[in-house]
């Protein structure tokens, strides 16, 4: 039954009388396509990850010796097969007949949801005469009696479902090809869409045939991208009466997503110089997939409150958050100014402070939302213009501790393997991360891996959507991470599950670690972890005994005062078991923002120059002094929270903040905001008057991601290009241009004409970019670093032979369990933990101004376990007050069975109930990252109910 072909041995078959070659595994459809014939197809999508299903029967071919026709999309080519496609009368009749059957029940093309659909393309290709079809084939609605008896009609199940703000459902155009089911179930693995009933009653349903907007749909939009008829359409492409056109855009621009660190490649569809809709591209990290943010959160650049002119604070307006302030009507607090005036004023304030108080009076926050080139220019401005190393950005708030541990133990701060490697792994540990929410497209790889048999182990205090795909879940007591990981190490040591050869060849310090974890047994740690000892043992064995295993982590690991210790533990686990350097193994901190990897690589960190080269190293400094023709400060600069403290202490007096929003993102906001108010001169460059900009003296209107060119580096070390897709509004300017203008006013002779010139300079200072040029990025769309040659792909998995440390070996760094900085007590008995939501990103400055995202998650919400709500006497949706030693917020509640009792989760993107008013600014001593994931709080029903 199986042929004995070599793996890549091509063979010959006959197609329409001509000998054609085929590869093993190829389908007849693919063979025909290579031979120049695109066989009609509806249910088959010629795209990565889509299984052929062979149900529409539009692609039939005749195979000699077979009674019935065969679906070419599904039928594998075999040597010697004699196939008739274009030359088969039977096949032609079948193809036409199938199209006619479907056309008979379609809405009229011009009245339908997509007049440019793939379906109509195929009908055209087969020259179907719609009028003739309607002559001979009766329409379904002519039938009075039900065809399928056991399925009753439901009035509450309309053909046109507009319950979702992002997508229009038009089932009258549905041909039941189940591409959307495969999109939802197999490609994105969100498991919302099904094909219910049977026969003529077959129907695409969401969950239990619920309205899409009420279902568990996470709005990834994969179904919309897959649908061949327009039955599922982006809402922006369909008018009020249901007519639509997927080809309505004037032009397309290929770019990358501006949101999380996954780095999905996408295409902007532009009409009238605005984004009409977004589709996924086949990038290495996304394979055409996107999430709700990337696909539907595209309209923020044209939000009414978008800044289009420079602003200068009006005299006498105090610095602070004024509840009455409306960012869309900002002239109450600021006046509009010309660029010359604004730039002069912005720069002068900084220059004067430097002249009066020295370089240490100034600091800059860049942003991981900006491009590599902008990050490079920004840190260069601070270092060569301000004359200090006081430059930092939100990496400090997300993975600084992970980077510290990685640098210490393996000599490199980036991931050792891409998240795509999860598909090669036998075991994957996900800890302190919630990828379905924060890295949704990375999560699709994890879910696909799980479906293929990879055992996913989730170690996290909170339950999460990926739990449904997990082999095992350990929900431990918040803050007990180090104890838990040490107990796992203890099992690996005492049960001798470690990889002796690997440890000998690639590591140092294992003996000390062995000694160190001797007493940290699961039994001893179980109580503080809240996990049975046996479960810890099982997980340790599962990980250690796997042939290939990976560890992914997020900010549940890093955002603790013991964040660096957490990461050290994870590194020790991988090193002890030899789980790095091979396919399907590795350490991967999932990076939070689109360019947090690139911005860090580019040196927007106070203690290191680009490529993590210490500023204190004279040799390193000398190289950059030569590159930039200036002298550099040797003292490391201050970090984000330290800068806020330095402002409070009066040493830092002026700041330039590009795209960051510390008035929302810093811990203990009362303190942070007081510091911002205290600044003598604050320049903010952003898209909107953010909470931080409300403290500014000068606000410079910057560029949104789709309005500029630039490269970004994702969590997988893939450098990718963003391209300008639409014009800048009003007087808004590209960020690189604004930085350059400020630099010039510091007397720096900068003359970059395009980001590509900046990139060229970067390649001279950053060995990590060896063999990567702007032109190559334009050509290849994505290049992974490190890259060994101009014509070779970069390394997806690194450190197979040696680590980039002095000895070439990695180091075990033992840790001791430490309590959180602010343990719960009688007065503050509940753990507050903070993070993101699927729909909102960072401080919400962009996502809350995206129509769909705002509609899906419109207001601040605190998630609580059902029991916790009961204890408070609250119904879901009623308001709760959360108080910590630093402040209080009031917001509505959401019941969430995934939450542990004794815990509350609040996303930090909502200005009206800013979670960071509550958070603890205590820092990890190594990474200087605050403990966003644990603060002691008190819950109480809110006095005044804000009812719906």
């Amino acid at each position: 039954m199986t042929t004995h072909q070599g793996v890549n041995e091509s063979f010959t078959l006959t197609l329409d009388g001509v000998d054609v070659s085929a590869q093993p595994g190829e389908t007849l459809w693919q063979v025909a396509k290579r031979a120049g014939e695109t066989i009609p197809h509806l249910c088959f999508k010629d795209a990565y990850g889509y299984r052929a299903d062979g149900n529409c029967r539009a692609c039939m071919v005749e195979v000699e010796g077979e009674r019935a026709l065969a679906a070419s999309c599904l039928r594998e080519a075999r040597p010697g097969m004699v196939v008739k496609s274009a030359s088969s009368e039977r096949a032609r009749t079948a193809r036409e007949g199938v199209m006619e059957l479907l056309v008979a029940d379609q809405p009229d093309r011009e009245a339908g949801p997509d007049r440019s659909s793939h379906f109509w393309d195929m009908a055209d290709q087969l020259a179907i005469d719609v009028d003739a079809v309607r002559q001979w084939l009766p329409r379904r609605e002519e039938r009075e009696a039900p065809t399928v008896h056991h399925v009753p009609d439901r009035a509450a199940s309309p053909v046109h479902d507009r319950s979702h703000s992002a997508m229009a459902v038009n089932l009258d155009a549905c041909i039941e090809c189940n591409l959307c089911v495969r999109a939802c179930r197999e490609v994105q693995v969100n498991d919302v869409i099904g094909l219910a009933n049977r026969g003529a009653a077959s129907k695409i349903v969401f969950d239990f045939d619920d309205p899409m907007g009420d279902s568990t749909c996470v709005a990834c939009g994969e179904c919309v991208q897959a649908c061949p008829t327009g039955a599922l359409m982006p809402a922006t492409l369909v008018d009020e009466v249901g007519r639509g056109d997927s080809a309505a855009a004037d032009r397309q621009v290929d770019s990358v997503c501006p949101y999380c660190g996954v780095g999905c490649q996408l295409t902007y569809h532009i009409k009238d110089e605005e984004i009409l809709h977004v589709s996924g591209r086949d990038g290495p990290s996304n394979h055409n997939r996107l999430c709700v943010k990337g696909r539907f959160g595209f309209d923020y650049p044209r939000h009414p409150s978008r800044l289009t002119t420079p602003l200068i604070r009006k005299p006498g307006v105090p610095k602070g958050l004024d509840p009455a302030f409306d960012p869309a009507a900002r002239t109450t607090h600021f006046r509009e100014a010309s660029w010359d005036e604004a730039l002069d004023l912005a720069a002068k304030g900084l220059v004067d402070l430097k002249a009066a108080h020295g370089p240490d009076a100034l600091a800059g926050f860049g942003s991981a939302k900006c491009s590599n080139e902008e990050a490079w220019l920004f840190q260069k401005l601070v270092r060569t213009g301000f004359g200090s190393n006081h430059v930092d950005h939100c990496t400090r708030l997300c993975h600084a501790s992970s980077v510290a541990a990685l640098m210490e133990c393996i000599g490199s701060g980036a991931v050792t393997a891409s998240f795509m490697q999860a598909l090669e792994a036998d075991v994957v540990i996900l800890t302190g991360c919630n990828p379905a929410v924060n890295h949704p497209v990375a999560a699709t790889f994890f879910k696909q891996a799980a479906k293929q048999g990879t055992r996913i182990i989730i170690i996290d205090p909170r339950g999460q959507a990926l739990g449904a795909y997990a082999h095992q879940t350990l929900r431990f007591t918040p803050g007990a991470d180090v104890a838990l990981f040490n107990a796992m190490l203890n099992v690996i040591v005492t049960e001798e599950l470690y990889d002796e050869a690997y440890i000998r060849e690639h590591t140092e310090g294992f003996e000390a670690l062995k000694e160190h974890v001797r007493d940290l047994t699961p039994e001893a740690m179980a109580e503080s972890c809240g996990v049975p000892a046996e479960a810890i043992r099982e997980v340790a064995r599962e990980y250690a005994n796997a042939e290939r295993a990976m560890i992914f982590w997020g900010m549940g690991i890093s955002q603790h005062v013991h964040g660096t210790d957490n990461a050290r533990c994870l590194i020790s686990l991988a090193l002890a078991c030899g789980h790095t350097g091979r396919p399907g193994t590795g350490l991967h901190p999932l990076r939070g923002q689109n360019n947090v990897q690139g911005a860090s690589d580019a040196g927007m960190i106070p203690m290191v120059l680009p490529d993590y080269q210490p500023v204190g190293d004279a040799q390193v400094r000398a190289a950059f002094e030569e590159l930039w023709a200036t002298s550099l400060e040797e003292r490391p600069g201050l970090t984000v929270v330290e800068i806020m403290d330095a402002i409070a202490a009066g040493t830092i007096k002026g700041m330039y903040i590009l795209g960051e929003n510390p008035a929302m993102s810093d811990p203990d906001l009362a303190h942070a905001r007081a510091s911002l108010a205290r600044l003598e001169h604050l320049v903010v460059q952003d898209l909107f008057v953010t909470e931080t900009a409300q403290f500014a003296d000068v606000i410079l209107p910057a560029s949104a991601w789709p309005e500029k060119d630039g490269s970004v580096t994702n969590t997988n070390r893939q450098v990718q290009l963003g391209r300008q897709a639409m014009p800048l509004p009003g007087e808004a300017r590209p960020d690189w241009w604004i930085i350059q203008e400020i630099a010039r006013r510091f007397g720096l002779a900068w003359d970059y004409d395009h980001p590509r010139a900046v990139f060229a300079e970067m390649t001279r200072g950053m060995p990590s970019l060896d063999h990567i040029t702007w032109e190559r990025l334009e050509r290849e769309q994505s290049v992974t670093y490190p890259c060994p040659a101009d014509d070779a792909p970069g390394a997806d998995v690194v450190f197979s032979e040696a680590f980039p440390t002095a000895s070439g070996k990695a180091k075990f760094s033992p840790t001791l369990p430490l309590p959180p900085d602010e343990p719960v007590d009688r007065d503050y008995p509940t753990v507050l933990t903070t993070g993101r939501q699927l729909e909102h990103w960072h401080t919400g400055s962009m996502t809350r101004r995206a129509r769909v995202l705002d509609d899906l998650e419109p207001e601040a919400v605190a998630s609580l376990a059902p029991g916790e709500l009961r204890r408070l006497g609250l119904a879901p949706g009623e308001s709760v007050s959360i108080t910590t030693r630093r402040g209080e917020i009031t917001l509505r509640t959401r019941v969430d069975p995934g939450m542990a009792e004794g815990m509350v989760f609040v996303p930090f993107c909502y200005a009206e109930a800013a979670a960071n008013v509550l958070t603890n600014p205590a820092l990890d001593p190594y990474g200087k990252i605050p403990e966003f994931k644990y603060a002691a709080c008190r819950l109480a029903p809110a006095a005044v109910e804000a009812l719906i």
Binding site: G54, T147, P152, D191, R198, F208, D209, T216, R848, R851
Partner: protein, 572 residues
């Protein structure tokens, strides 16, 4: 508030997305099904249909609250549970905006044989006479009791030769359990030499090779309808690497067919021995029996028979797994049956790969029909020649013909393969009823096509009817007379196919419905019907869609005059 938006805020959710799980409903479900946290095997995906049956039996319907809880219980997406629950006709999914069905369900068989016996007017009368708050009257596909048509099922009790009065009497008694069946118990079967072959096989006294040679010599072929030589099927499955499974198809749903029920009700152990020998022959890890839900009495019989086997130590407990269908003709198709065994909607798989290569749980699987394996112990005991020599007109073997319609003595008639319809009616059925003249017959149930009286002399067997565009299939012979309405017969058959189409492929899902609508018209455009038939036959994934046009093509070929006489204008 810092952020202004262009749309009003309206979507605050106080709960996670989608339908909420009610913990109390989940607790109740655990009391019904067992606690999956203690017994994780209860959450296995392939048990979904079994669990749905338990819920449907206990509650009388499937509420969305229960289905939501079941999704959580089984860690399945809601959509997956819903797909399966709504596929099968015996599950009543009740939405939040719908009322649960009344307590009593009356199903009136609307297969062709029952229609000939007046089922349509019976259904009308029952509907008119029923209190809708208490009783609902549904039509249902063939119940496998065509010899006692018309048939009505009240709850699980079947009423033969049903009349309105008889049905209403059953409704009033409140006894809705299946009627009792008298069957040969294990002691009696063993006394008659039963299970000796199985013992000899296991003891190495009978080799697989010898047994296969015997089946080949006996010319035993798949009696579910495909007629594939049994020994060859065994051979293919044995050629695949283990683990392997054996699954017996007892989803006898072809309208007019009731032979499997006939044998199972009488000699379940002879069948079980044949099934166990088949499983032994392919070294199956487990033996699955897929029994149609229309045979509730047999469900109990087989459960008890299996219990007898286990008690007698003849089979390890749990080796034989009974699974209940749920009202879907398509599950008689072997790959659809396997999907159903896995707890999914019964949608046929594409071939290749064949189920012998990748079947149940993606493992090589031997799928045999009930009657096929039923004959194995007898053939072994009496010799291949005994079976093979029974044919007529050059054919070999015995055929169990389910005869219904216009004959005096309907029923399962064990007759020589190759017997003609004329001989069958004369020799086995005591002729036609008074006043009826043979006009047409269906040689293979709904899907085997239709032949005119002039072709009553063709040998009935596998391979003999191809030239006529027909096939014998499961050997369900439905006899029509000059009194019968041919268009009504055609629309009855197409309505059946359209109702039972799984909906997977376009030619069948859309084609059966369009064909039905075209046939309901007064004028038939022959060219249109033939073109549509061509598309369905050539492009449907499985036999349902491929065979559905057979009766239409038969009428167009051989019955133009009769149609004209019945006021159906055929053009072209």
């Amino acid at each position: 508030m810092t952020v202004q938006t262009v749309t009003p805020k309206r979507r605050f959710r106080g709960k996670p997305r989608g339908r909420e799980l009610d913990p109390a409903t989940l607790d109740a479900l655990r009391r019904l099904l067992g606690d999956e946290r203690e017994r994780p095997e209860l959450a296995r995906r392939d048990l979904l249909i079994e669990h749905l049956h338990v819920l449907q039996d206990a509650r009388g319907h499937l509420s969305l609250a229960d289905l939501r809880a079941l999704a959580a219980y089984m860690n399945l997406p809601m959509a997956a549970v819903y797909e399966t629950a709504t596929f099968y006709a015996h599950f009543d999914v009740v939405h939040d905006d719908q009322a649960p069905p009344p307590a009593i369900t009356v199903r009136v068989c609307d297969s062709l044989s029952c229609q000939l016996a007046g089922a349509a007017s019976l259904q009308d009368a029952l509907e008119a006479g029923a209190d809708p708050a208490r009783v609902r009257v549904l039509r249902a596909p063939c119940m496998g009791r065509c010899d006692v048509a018309p048939v009505v099922e009240v709850g699980h009790r079947h009423v033969s030769h049903a009349t309105q009065e008889a049905v209403e009497a059953v409704v009033d008694t409140g006894h809705f359990h299946p009627e009792a069946i008298l069957w040969q118990r294990i002691e009696a079967y063993r006394e008659a030499g039963g299970y000796r072959l199985l013992a000899d096989c296991r003891a190495g006294k009978v080799s697989v090779e010898r047994l296969m040679q015997t089946l080949e010599a006996a010319n035993l072929r798949g009696l579910g309808g495909a007629g594939f030589p049994t020994f060859k099927k065994w051979h293919f499955v044995r050629a695949e690497a283990g683990p392997r499974y054996c699954a017996i198809n007892a989803d006898e749903g072809e309208p007019g067919t009731f032979k499997d029920r006939h044998y199972l009700e009488r000699e379940p152990h002879r069948f079980l021995e044949g099934a166990l020998v088949s499983a032994w022959a392919v070294e199956a890890e487990a033996l699955y029996l897929y029994l149609r839900d229309e045979y509730p009495g047999l469900h109990r019989v087989l459960h008890e028979a299996i219990a007898e086997l286990e008690a007698a130590g003849l089979v390890a407990p749990g080796y034989i797994v009974m699974r209940r269908g749920a009202g879907a003709y398509i599950c008689g198709e072997e790959s659809a049956m396997i999907e159903s065994l896995e707890g999914k909607p019964g949608k046929p798989r594409h071939r290749p790969p064949f189920v012998a290569q990748r079947g149940l749980f993606d493992r090589p699987t031997l799928v045999n029909n009930v009657e096929t394996v039923y004959w194995i112990p007898t053939i072994w005991a009496r010799g291949a020649a005994w079976f093979a020599d029974q044919g007529r007109h050059g054919r070999k073997g015995l055929r169990s013909l389910s005869v219904s319609g216009r004959v005096k003595r309907p029923g399962v008639h064990l007759a020589p393969a190759g017997i003609t319809l004329g001989e069958l009616i004369e020799e086995y059925c005591d002729g036609m009823p008074e006043g009826h003249t043979l006009a047409a017959y269906l040689p293979g149930g709904a899907s085997g096509g239709i032949l005119p009286a002039s072709k009553a002399d063709i040998p009935l067997d596998f391979d003999t009817l191809q030239a006529e565009g027909c096939f014998i299939g499961s050997a369900a012979i439905i006899v029509l007379s000059d009194q019968d309405d041919l268009r009504a017969a055609a629309t009855n058959l197409l309505a059946f196919f359209a109702d039972e189409s799984c909906g997977q492929c376009t030619p069948c899902r859309v084609g059966t419905e369009k064909m039905l609508t075209l046939l309901e018209g007064d004028t038939w455009q022959a060219a249109d019907l033939e073109r549509l038939s061509r598309v369905m036959m050539d492009a449907s994934i499985c036999g349902l869609g491929q065979a559905a046009p057979n009766p239409v093509l038969g009428l167009l070929r051989d019955f133009r005059d009769e149609l004209a006489a019945q006021n159906v204008i055929v053009k072209g």
